[in-house]
Homo-oligomer: 254 residues x 2
């Protein structure tokens, strides 16, 4: 039985709480957060607290708070002997440098409070300073996921950057596509099958090989027409910058 | 029984051929293409031809060729009485203006020769000049898809533009994400669950509400760090332009 104190009450903490609670070999002995209201999400938690001075002893302390709060939160744990990890994609392991037993437990997924997540498929990226601590994390992670990786702080930073492209930026482009549809009385559901296929295709071929469209073909006339269709300058700039990058990627003359 | 002559031998033509062939009330009486090699894809077609002068009489002629060839191909059909349609997202119905009975049959999907497509879910966007022709197209489209829409040329142009954002541009961002992973010895499969969830989430909430990440939060420090991480200037410009657009969308100060 691995005992855990979970610190934080946001989406990552909520999802970790749910999945750990469902495991018989993991016991969350305490959830600690500053926000009493969001602590209500942790139904059935045996101990919830907003008191950082009353933190219990556990095998692992998981700090699932915003990047800028990790350091200050970790300082409340200076007298603890357990392993202390954060869940951040962009902070290095040394954000916890005042603790000899430190590590990272980074689930690479976008978490929303209203969505169920199949944790078995979520890549868990682990890092620790000591082999015994790494083994402890690996044992914990493999209870909830089939995809456990050892990932260094540098690699994780790249992974997080990559996730910004793959999730945040693509989502914004979908938002723009949606906006263009709505402005023309077209329902967004018309785009859903295309969107689904865009992603499903990538189970079989690489995004490099998957590319189609005017920029890939070097079809300057269509590109110019579409630029003219766009009404706002930010959309035009996005169109221009991405088309140019696609053209360069496939060796089309600019 | 609706008889069809299919003109073209690319991915759209191939997929239409497959799905029409599976329907008992549709009969493809001829496939016409310039490229003898790609015509080999049309296994079991009763008549294949590279001769544009020997085109048979049919109820509907479907011109599924590249945008720039639609006009010249349609000129081979000047003596035909059937309904003549193209499958282009960006060309108006009047690309076929020399034909009184003209229309558009635009399946909104990305087609690859190696992927099976569930046509039932593919939105088919129809346009015709005459109501009887529209009904003919609607009857044809509803044989293969549950998602049939009447879409004007202007709307279709917007839909096609939207598809460039939702498919071509997102795919390119995924390519960049993939490249960043590979440069750091991280397998692309690590990003697949994130990618899948990015899209699946949009069945429940809008892309506007779905946005997360440093730009949405206005987290300037992370944005600056990530810009510094990017090695090439095109990637940096994409990061800058998209982050700025996200910040503006959510009213963050720049």
């Amino acid at each position: 039985m691995t005992t855990i104190v979970l610190i934080g009450s946001g989406n990552v903490a909520t999802h970790l709480f749910k999945v750990f609670s469902a495991s018989e070999s993991i016991k969350i002995i305490q959830v600690v957060g500053r926000n009493e209201r969001t602590l209500e999400r942790f139904e059935g938690a045996e101990a919830m607290s907003t008191d950082f001075n009353g933190i219990k002893d556990a095998d692992i302390y998981i700090i699932a708070v915003s990047d800028d709060s990790i350091l200050s939160v970790s300082q409340h744990l200076s007298d603890k002997n357990g392993l202390i990890v954060h869940t951040s994609g962009s902070k290095t392991i040394d954000e916890l440098s005042s603790h000899a037993r430190r590590g990272v437990f980074y689930p690479l997924q976008t978490f929303s409070h209203f969505r169920e997540i199949d944790f078995k498929k979520v890549p868990i990226c682990l890092e620790a300073r000591q082999e015994s601590d790494f083994n402890l994390l690996q044992n914990l992670a493999s209870q909830i996921s089939d995809k456990v990786y050892e990932v260094s702080s540098d690699q994780r930073r790249s992974l997080h950057l990559s996730a910004v492209f793959v999730n945040n930026f693509t989502n914004h482009l979908i938002h723009i596509g949606n906006r263009i549809c709505l402005e023309n009385s077209l329902p967004f559901e018309m785009l859903q099958p295309l969107l689904q296929e865009t992603v499903s295709k990538l189970n079989e071929i690489s995004p490099y090989d998957s590319q189609t469209g005017p920029a890939r073909r070097g079809d300057l006339k269509t590109m110019q027409n579409q630029m003219d269709q766009l009404k706002n300058r930010d959309d035009q700039e996005i169109y221009r910058v991405l088309s140019r990058s696609i053209q360069k990627t496939y060796g089309k003359k600019l």
